[in-house]
Symmetry: C2
Subunit: 265 residues, 2 copies
């Protein structure tokens, strides 16, 4: 269990204090947090909570959305929150096309520019910016960074200690170049997240993920590939699924651990 981390969005309705206690009780060493529940609970209070429980915050989700008008303020705040939580990785989901826009090249350029602006703040705070490519089905409305190769094209302009990439199995498994890109990424891999792919996709597609082992993704092969690339960090299970969310938090955590042990390790 040394590398296992539970992303709190996998049990979206489990209150922060309970998920932290649940992880500690289950011997889970790491947790991935989201900004909204942390803000609701109180940043300093949340930082104390996880520290007192002996948990490592393996990532904070999420900065990005660089096409929003207030992206500078929001992202600087996200960097500060990550630092306060002791999270060394801030996950960046770039945002999609601005409303009414068809200029995908322009949006991508703005993402690269924004990361360039944000990088000094992140470096000063000791937080790494982790660019997450989302599955291309989210390109229009959530993330114009659609492949690991594209994320690396941006990340490689920066110090690897300051800008890295996220490898999330759900988003990258379909890509016939993914193993080559993982090898290319090497120590730029800032986070490794795990979810499985199942069909049919639900309306809106966001909540279509499944626990490790329930779908068609070669999770172990991808884990071995990030390991071979030199990644030694945490392995976060992060699943968004309405059915799963309806279950009690401890059951969800137990199911995530079981899937991890059987299909990822």
């Amino acid at each position: 269990m040394a590398r296992f981390s539970f992303n709190q969005a996998t049990a979206k309705h489990w209150p922060l204090d309970e998920v932290v206690a649940g992880c500690a009780a289950a011997g889970v060493p790491g947790i991935g947090l989201w900004r909204e529940p942390v803000q609701e609970y109180g940043l300093a209070r949340a930082a104390r909570l996880v520290r007192d429980a002996g948990l490592t915050v393996t990532s904070l989700c999420r900065g990005g959305f660089f096409t929003d008008g207030d992206w500078r303020t929001e992202n600087r705040r996200a960097v500060e929150e990550a630092a306060a939580l002791g999270a060394s990785e801030l996950v960046l989901v770039s945002g999609g096309l601005p409303a009414g826009s068809r200029d995908v090249d322009g949006a991508r350029q703005r993402v690269a520019d924004a990361i360039g602006e944000l990088a000094p703040d992140a470096a000063a705070a000791g937080v790494r910016l982790a660019i997450e490519p989302l599955h291309p089905m989210f390109c229009a409305d959530r993330c114009v960074i659609a492949t690991l190769g594209q994320a690396l094209d941006i990340a490689e302009r920066f110090d690897p200690a300051v800008v890295g990439v996220v490898v999330d199995t759900y988003h990258v498994w379909w890509d016939d170049t993914v193993y080559a890109q993982i090898a290319r990424a090497g120590r730029r891999i800032a986070a490794f997240q795990v979810a499985d792919w199942v069909t049919p996709l639900p309306e809106g597609v966001l909540l279509g993920r499944a626990l490790p082992g329930q779908g068609c993704v070669e999770l172990r092969r991808l884990r071995e590939a990030v390991d071979a690339a030199g990644y030694t960090g945490p392995i976060e299970v992060e699943v968004f699924q309405a059915d799963l969310w309806s279950r009690p938090g401890p059951d969800i955590l137990a199911a995530a651990v079981t899937g991890y042990r059987s299909h990822v390790l």
Copy 2:
């Protein structure tokens, strides 16, 4: 209108004889046909129908699904049907992963092998096999060929007169390498299909497409790119959408023509 073609799936419920008459009446020179309605109408009878109406069959959808047990029989039959209809291009959708399989590399290898087996039949019949990459959201259940680059990696093993690729704007627009791959494809571009991307995606995602101009895809830029690559063939509007299908056939055709004139030409 010289290059415009109406893919009959855009008006799924318009009977074959009526869609052919409707295209002829509207001065549409080309039509894309599907195997099921053609078989229902009768192959020889359908061939006579379109010929008598003065229409060109710009493509036949579709062969492929190489992970099905009867793929050889079905695909040989599809080649014969294309030849009988005078369709020079048979669109191939490769099929997804076999039930319960996670072996995406193996599935991709089988696709390449199957095309190799099918190519002599296609060459003998004067039909070009047109490999269509589908959007990666269909990788698991419909098409393990998820990018234009991947389709070209297979197509390039064969005579360009026998194996080409389909560029469908809906499936490829998100790819940051798409313009480079279109240039690479050159005269291997066997068909150019047009649909627009809109969100939110519906359950199952298959019917989420929109008429040209209703979404965020740079359709004209992609059309100019295929032209610059040397493609001079038909431009098929192909949209699957439940709302659109509920409208009268002539209205759908008129809307497709309007979208084509305003956003593709």
